[in-house]
Amino acid sequence: MKILVTAKVVVDPEVQPKVLSGKRVTKGLRRIVDVVDDTNVQALIEGLPNANIFVVNISSIEDKVSLARLVALGAKEMIHFSCADECIARLDCLAKAKLLKNLVITRGFNLVALGIQSSDTSSAQLGPMLAGLLNWPCICGVKAIKRMDDGNFVVKCAIKNVLVDINVSSPCVLTCDLRVKAPRLVTVVDLIKAKRKLINTIPVLESNYSLKPQIEIIEDIISPSPRLGKVFTNFSDAWEIVTRWLRKNKWL
């Protein structure tokens, strides 16, 4: 069983975003593997010990450093599609889905697990889009995955107010928000072992993929805060001001 798991590298969500002359600045800001993807990789390695877990990432060459942790967690191989920053800006979700589709077909993966959505763009479209391109079934919002004796899987996901267990046979695309008992810390020994493992860097060549973007970014602006921003250190002061405000606005 060959499972491909995606791992995005994003600007640390705890870092305040920067915009300069109407364009978002990401250079020089701390970048990390998306928390949901990091947990998915760990959960799949722990939960499916007999499967071969391959991790794929599409980002700039500098992001390779952030990916070492995933290999150290026990992934069999890291496939890193690297490209220049200006090329990344032109790689929209469709281009990424096509890149992944080619990889899935050429390397013969049975199952693709993606994050439920990026903490950066929150677009949540790559999984179903890839499934559409591959003509595979897709299940979104998977919370848990279990392999059965017959080789099939049972996945648990929440659909509105219903918890559903779904029998899945491969090939299939899953978008996951898996859980682990405790986040695993990577030791120095893990990192040394990981050094011997393969990080397969594949440059994304513009000539090989149609990088004609379908969306042009016109302007980025920091979202104006609609909040009042009043801070108190004393309960009675806070109580008085908040209740007065609620009464004034006829909320009480």
Binding site: S122, Q125, P128, G132, N167, I218, I221, K230, A238
Partner: protein, 342 residues
């Protein structure tokens, strides 16, 4: 020259879609509030609005009040994910007739639209909360901290996923127009590649009998600082019950087993738009705050003045929640009834 530009700009601003298809969601035969907002936006930005109603009975379809309703039954509501293939094929087939297709970002049909986008060789413009004209949109990124204006270069149909928590439109009101119904049958599509093994319906109400997160006008949420589910129930749930609020939690609290998964708010949990959102021991990470951007008023209690929530709340109290919560519980506890004994 300046006047020419103004005229061109005004003309551009006035450009509307001529035909839009909306995929609304229904809850027990009633249009959800999110879907009313998406329909409201479509009615504002398009001359004609049609609807693809999935798992919807005919009286409900007739009551929506748009000119044309396609009705498609995919079986029981839990089969919607299984029927995603069928819905996406329908969308691909119908897309040629429309300038744009709208779904809510939190809707189950978002995935069907993304799937058909792959087939149509198009990108879905996600998290849109403002439509400037038929090719310029404003979307929210970086957990709602950046507003990005984007231009669609791919022509019609535009595939838009709408972030309803940030929308500033009036919810759609049914009109008395004559409605054309078209029933769509798709019996040939098999989604037998997976089957439902078991299905557990959650309680209609929220955690511990409190109102559900999606419907409550007041939500009280706790973070990992509660340390245990016992303390969470003792303080936070008691307070929530007293003020008839829904109970929410951060991802950290859910992962630590302090609160159940259905309470999780944020990017990977529920997106809510209550009138008042009160937090205790919530740090205010961008992933969590992305789920509460639509809250009208945020009140935060956190002992750490450096916690991001202090800057992102309307009213923030820097204090120990174990001192604050008992005072709040006391303040809202109704007085003991007088038993009449002197």
């Amino acid at each position: 020259m300046g006047n020419c530009y103004t005229l061109v700009e005004e003309k551009q601003m006035a450009l509307k879609f001529s035909k839009v298809l909306v995929l609304p969601e229904f809850d027990k035969g009633i249009l959800t509030n999110d879907s009313r907002l998406v329909l409201g936006l479509a009615a504002e930005k398009s001359t004609t609005v049609d609807v693809l109603a999935i798992n919807c009975d005919l009286p409900t379809a007739l009551s929506i009040g748009v000119s044309k309703v396609y009705v498609f039954a995919s079986g029981s509501p839990t089969n919607v994910r299984a029927a995603c293939v069928g819905i996406s094929i329908l969308l691909s087939a119908l897309s040629g007739r429309y300038d744009a297709i709208f779904v809510g970002s939190a809707s189950v049909y978002h995935n069907a639209l993304c799937r058909s986008a792959g087939v149509l060789n198009k990108v879905v413009i996600t998290n849109v909360f403002e439509i400037i004209n038929d090719e310029l949109f404003v979307k929210s990124i970086a957990g709602g901290r950046i507003n990005q204006q984007v231009k669609n270069l791919a022509g019609y149909p535009c595939l838009l996923s709408i972030n309803t928590s940030l929308l500033k439109v009036e919810p759609f009101r049914s009109s008395k127009e004559a409605v054309t119904l078209q029933l769509l049958e798709f019996s040939s599509i098999s989604s037998a590649k997976f089957s439902i093994a078991s299905c557990v319906k959650r309680a209609k109400t929220g955690y511990q009998g409190c109102p559900s997160l999606s419907e409550a006008s007041v939500v009280v949420a706790g973070g990992g600082g509660f340390k245990s589910s016992k303390l969470f129930d003792k303080y936070l749930v008691t307070f929530a019950r007293l003020i008839n609020a829904a109970v929410g939690a951060t991802r950290a609290a859910v992962e630590a087993g302090i609160a159940p998964p259905e309470c999780q708010i944020g990017q990977t949990g529920a997106t809510i738009s209550p009138k008042i959102y009160i937090t205790f021991a919530v740090s205010g990470s961008s992933q969590h705050m992305a789920g509460v951007r639509g809250a009208s008023l945020i009140i935060a209690v956190n002992w750490d003045i450096r916690a991001p929530i202090i800057r992102q709340a309307d009213f923030a109290l820097v204090a120990d929640m174990y001192n604050v919560l008992p005072q709040l519980i006391n303040a809202f506890t109704p007085p003991e009834p007088d038993d009449g004994i002197v």
